[in-house]
């Protein structure tokens, strides 16, 4: 009876979702590159994410990721006084040293909009790498540094000519930048861990660029860190700080308490601490999840950290923090009682707080509540929100927005430990493989999959065990991930609606005219071939296009292609969809292949996963070039 009830409930839920999903699917098909959330449903939310202050401190320039705008707020009246249209999905901004220009990255367009601060008009658009995020200008205002998330590098752009001079290799998912107070160095962080050996501890880096030589001069290693966000400095330049996640992806996820899944933390660096020191911000029974924005007061008395999934700002006493760091000789990042020695307040704010900024006198702290379309104003002496600046977004909250809030909050997990967005950073991936408990300890290791355009790729889970998204996101998540009462039926419907709405990101490997390069053409022929190089026919089930067929390059079946591991309970794996496969390393169901090449050079000795052993290295390269265009 119980199982029948469950099936009935799921059927009802599916019935509720189906019309919305159909609408979204229609919208997606009609405009493949657009976000169905924006084309299918009328509300256009602003989603403020980053801010800078005008030189006189009277105006706030707010990047609105959802509405593709820069909104200018007069701080005295608390009103939006002007709006500047930008490119698609703007993400980061900075101001030129002479305050004459504002630079905003457009992450979907791979450009930087240059805004004349006097006229508030876009005067130029500069090309960048793939999916630009953070941007800073050097002290002279001659060079722009742009962190490119998808290409994992930093564009160095000559401001005068608008040309990219060079591109520096950075961490995977390069996203946030800060200029040191003396202007000598640019510090960069990245949101995905570096690709490394299978089932080994993830590592990240702080990339340090010398602005004089425009070269990378240091890569500060962040051990066991995956997901590094903003970076900031004290005014004297002696203390640097990044916000970060320490995932516990290598141990069985059998419970949540005692910091079992994530360590929300900071890395301190610079002369004040020497080397790098990782510092926890969680407590024993409460978690401050997804630390994201960070800023230090000019007098170095306080540090403010937005915790994006916990909807709060953590306030840290910097002198106490430094004293504690100097007193503890051993690493203490796994000590959940440490934060009591330096965290002085937790200030509740709105949904998904991101960017953080201080007023010129440091008496006010501005926090961008991304999913509320407003800015929280905090009295930094009293540590409380004293007002909220409405940026003028829609007043109604539609199912997509509700689902987005559910996706980005940690409220549902036991003790508020984590949310969907901890593993699906900005609704993408985390680049990690996890050991989930229900399959047994050390068994059935699973790679974190992309959420782009999931409709039509059912079933889900590495072995195809979950027939639909309500099953994937519902009771399974409650029982084996959050370990606490989570979504009701309506909330699950909203969440699924949001997840289904996530579009493909633009594919940067396709030529503008939709033609293929010669290498891609050769790769396509290999992908579609039906015979070995010696002319013998390849059995149909062993041809690439047999399993990877249809509009999303999956036949949605579960097959043994020889990639199973001794620790897997079954060799059968769900055939994954391939669009934008270039963005989602590592590969295979368990994340054991660190690159597309390794799928065939390491994990296909018997040609079970397509025929590849008769290919030359160049031919394999061609195949991969083609796969990247899908």
């Amino acid at each position: 009876m119980r199982s029948m009830a469950t099936i009935t409930a799921k059927a009802k839920l599916a019935a509720k979702i189906a019309p919305i999903a159909a609408l979204l699917l229609f919208a997606a098909l009609a405009r493949p590159a657009a976000n169905p959330a924006r084309s299918g449903i009328s509300e256009r939310y602003l989603s403020p994410i980053e801010m800078v202050l005008s030189p006189d401190g009277r105006q706030l320039y707010v990047v609105c990721q959802g509405s593709n705008e820069l909104r200018v707020v007069d701080l005295e009246s608390g009103k939006v006084v002007s709006t500047v249209p930008l490119g698609r999905a703007p993400r980061g901004l900075t101001m030129s040293p002479d305050s004459a220009q504002i630079y905003v990255t457009n992450s979907t367009d791979d450009t930087v909009s240059v805004i004349d601060a006097a006229t508030m008009r876009v005067t130029r658009t500069l090309a960048t790498g793939f999916e630009p995020a953070g941007v800073v200008a050097d002290r002279a205002g001659e060079t722009l540094y742009v962190a490119n998330r998808l290409s994992g590098d930093i564009s160095v752009i000559n401001v005068k000519t608008g040309q990219e001079i060079k591109r520096l290799l950075a961490g995977r998912g390069a996203s946030y930048l800060a200029l040191s107070p003396d202007g000598k160095f640019v510090y960069g962080t990245h949101i995905y861990p570096k690709l490394g050996a299978f089932r080994k501890q993830p590592n990240s880096e702080i990339t340090v660029i010398d602005t004089a030589s425009q070269t990378v001069v240091e890569r500060k290693r962040l051990h066991n860190v995956a997901g590094v966000f903003h970076v900031a400095f004290s005014a004297d330049g002696k203390l640097g700080v990044t916000t970060q996640l320490r995932p516990k992806n290598l141990i069985p996820l059998a419970h949540v308490e005692h910091g079992w899944v994530f360590g929300n933390s900071l890395t301190l660096f610079g002369e004040d601490v020497g080397g790098t020191v990782q510092v926890p911000i969680d407590e024993l029974d409460r978690y401050y999840s997804l630390p994201w924005g960070v800023i230090i007061t000019p007098d170095k008395s306080k540090m403010f950290v937005t915790t994006a999934a916990s909807e709060s700002v953590t306030v840290i006493d910097v002198p106490k923090l430094l004293n504690y760091v100097r007193a503890r000789r051993e690493p203490f990042v796994n000590d959940l009682s440490a934060s009591a020695n330096y965290v002085t307040a937790r200030i509740p704010v709105g949904h998904n707080p991101r960017g953080v900024l201080l007023s010129k006198d440091a008496k006010r702290l501005y926090v961008a509540n991304r999913l509320d379309d407003n800015i929280a104003v905090i009295d930094t002496a009293a540590n409380r929100v004293v007002s909220t600046i409405d940026l003028g977004g829609p007043k109604t909250i539609n199912p997509l927005r509700r689902g987005e809030r559910i996706f980005f909050t940690a409220d549902y997990a036991f003790q508020g430990h984590f949310g969907c967005s901890n593993c699906h950073l900005d609704a993408t991936i985390d680049g990690l493989e996890w050991d989930l408990e229900p399959d047994g300890f050390g068994k059935d290791i699973v790679d974190n999959r992309s959420l782009e355009a999931l409709s039509g790729t059912e079933p889900f889970k590495w072995n195809g065990g979950n027939p639909d998204l309500p099953t994937e996101c519902g009771p399974r998540v409650e029982k084996y991930f959050f370990r606490s009462q989570s979504y009701g039926d309506h909330e699950l419907t909203d969440l699924v609606t949001f997840v289904y709405s996530l579009p493909y990101r633009p594919n940067r490997y396709r030529l503008p005219n939709s033609e293929l390069s010669p290498a891609q053409e050769r790769g396509k022929a290999i992908f579609e071939r039906t015979t070995y190089k010696n002319g013998k026919p390849i059995p149909q089930a062993n041809q690439c296009g047999y399993c990877h067929s249809g509009p999303k390059f999956t036949n949605r079946q579960q097959l043994d292609v020889g990639t199973g591991k001794p620790t897997d309970r079954s060799p059968l794996v769900d055939v994954p969809h391939l669009p934008n496969v270039a963005y989602s390393a590592p590969y295979l169901h368990d994340g054991s292949a660190q690159s597309l090449e390794e799928i065939w050079t390491v994990y296909n000795p018997k040609d079970q996963h397509g025929v590849s052993n008769d290919l030359t290295k160049d031919e394999l390269n061609d195949l991969i070039e083609y796969l990247k265009t899908l």
């Binding site: 501890q201 969680d282 606490s484």
Partner: protein, 477 residues
């Protein structure tokens, strides 16, 4: 010329009136706090004799009888006037019903009853052969209570169907001693009191301690690992802190700290089981010395932002019974239900336990010294019985399959078989539970390091310690 003078007087009058109004407003919060606290509806227990720790030995806390009293706008009256005894009141999340332990006749066993607070006859919830006491509501129409089995109290959870505790009845505690629930935490865990070392009721040195367990009996652990202050009768306050009675008065567990934090309360003895008023003040059962009776006091510990000293005057009497104890204050208010725990127990007769690193411990073990782990159960006579020995890897990891739902005890041994450390108390793992530990007595403040345990690199099959087969520490380092 008179006009300005009149204006001046009017201004003076207005300023004076405003000042008086401001003073009245400034004073109002404290007055309203006190009045709201005393005026709000309340359940409490009046007991002639009250030994809050009698449960340690399986005895009755209310040897001299007890009565649950309702204090509301109509005055004070017994919750169930025709009962021989009643105690342990608990109010439902919607504020409309109450559970209590009751005896209709003096010779009856304690049973759990439920009554509508709007009036009506009480409904008997349990039909226990021996006493059933100390019940609380759980989410989704479940309750938790202590049931006396073979002379000792165990904690059970049951579903309420048509006013009866029905299947599935889940036993939550499997220690050898007595256990008594004291609250249901907002995160869904059940706070209960038992002895430390766990299950050592017969040990004269055993002291009460606070533990938590999920509502399916899994995940049992002590709330904190700084044992030793006779903690009992804990309640979670709106701040999330757990406040409890201890040897030194009142103390609290707060999320940020690994050790209890002292509460500077007025001198005297506290019965625990505090309640919080809507204004944030505390209702406490207090007595000046052990010869006196507990009285119900309101502790208004703040005026604005200023903490009062622990001066006796900070306590104001709410209910005083000259010849009886006034305990277990329970406001009749609706509140948010705790989160439900989605049980993830597997359908197995056994359980698995993975320790990531036995060297992560409050005890100091020399690097490489831990060779293997022994697991003990208890025989029929209550004596420790060795179930087997399993290897410990060089990184301190071990992985065991263990018998479920019974007291277990670990012992770490070196290469020569010498004991390095043996648990003082006992613990259990539920059927189908997959338990993971950071280390051996690592403390709840210790988060795990992110590394694949060596034991799982060697094998994903646990060493069988269920007693079904002999185990040898081969394969260790």
């Amino acid at each position: 010329m008179r006009r300005p003078a009149i204006v001046g007087r009017l201004l003076l009058l207005a300023v004076t009136a405003l000042t008086l109004f401001a003073m009245a407003v400034a004073l109002a919060p404290r007055q309203s706090a006190a009045s709201s606290s005393t005026d709000s509806s309340l359940l409490y227990t009046v007991a002639g004799g009250y030994d809050p720790l009698a449960w340690i030995h399986g005895s009755d806390r209310f040897s001299g009888g007890a009565t649950v009293v309702v204090k509301d706008s109509r005055g004070r009256h017994s919750l169930v006037a025709d009962f021989a005894a009643s105690a342990d009141p608990a109010v439902s999340f919607d504020g409309e019903n109450a559970l209590f332990a009751g005896k209709q006749k003096p010779q009856d066993r304690w049973q759990i009853w439920e009554i509508s607070l709007a009036g009506g006859k009480p409904r008997r919830i349990t039909s226990c052969v021996d006493d059933c006491i100390r019940s609380f509501y759980l989410p989704e129409n479940r309750i938790v209570y202590a049931k006396k089995v073979d002379g000792r109290f165990v904690v059970e959870a049951a579903t309420l169907v048509d006013g009866k505790a029905t299947a599935p009845v889940v036993r939550l505690t499997y220690g050898p001693g007595n256990s008594l629930p004291t609250d249901v935490l907002r995160d869904g865990r059940i706070l209960f009191e038992a002895t430390f070392p766990f299950g050592s009721s017969s040990d004269p040195s055993a002291t009460p301690e606070l533990y938590t367990v999920y509502s399916d009996g899994s995940g049992v652990e002590s709330y904190r690992c700084d044992h030793g202050k006779a903690r009992h009768a804990g309640k979670q306050m709106s701040s999330g802190d757990v406040v409890f009675a201890s040897e030194s008065g009142l103390a609290r567990f707060t999320s940020a700290l690994a050790k209890e934090a002292a509460i500077a309360a007025p001198a005297g003895e506290y019965a625990g089981d505090l309640a919080e008023t809507a204004a944030g003040d505390w209702l406490v059962s207090w007595r000046p010395d052990t010869r006196s009776r507990f009285q119900l006091m309101l502790w208004t510990d703040r005026v604005g932002r200023t903490l009062l000293s622990a001066h006796q005057g900070a306590l104001r009497p709410v209910v005083v019974e000259p010849n009886a104890n006034v305990i277990q204050p329970t406001p009749i208010v609706a509140r948010t239900a705790p989160k439900r725990h989605p049980s993830a127990l597997h359908d197995w007769s056994y359980a698995n336990l993975l320790c990531l690193n036995a060297y992560t411990s409050k005890y100091k073990f020399a690097a490489g010294s831990i060779h293997s782990v022994r697991l003990y159960a208890r025989d029929d006579a209550g004596q420790a019985k060795l179930l087997g020995t399993a290897p410990v890897e060089t990184d301190g990891s071990f992985f065991l399959q263990v018998p479920a739902d019974q007291p277990l005890q670990f012992e770490l041994v070196d290469g020569s078989g010498k004991t390095l450390k043996r648990e003082a108390g006992w613990f259990w793992i539920r059927r189908g539970e997959q338990r993971v530990c950071v280390g051996c007595h690592a403390g709840p403040e210790t988060a795990p390091e992110n590394a694949v345990p060596m034991i799982l690199q060697r094998s994903t099959t646990p060493a069988d310690m269920t007693g079904a087969t002999d185990q040898h520490p081969s394969g260790g380092h």
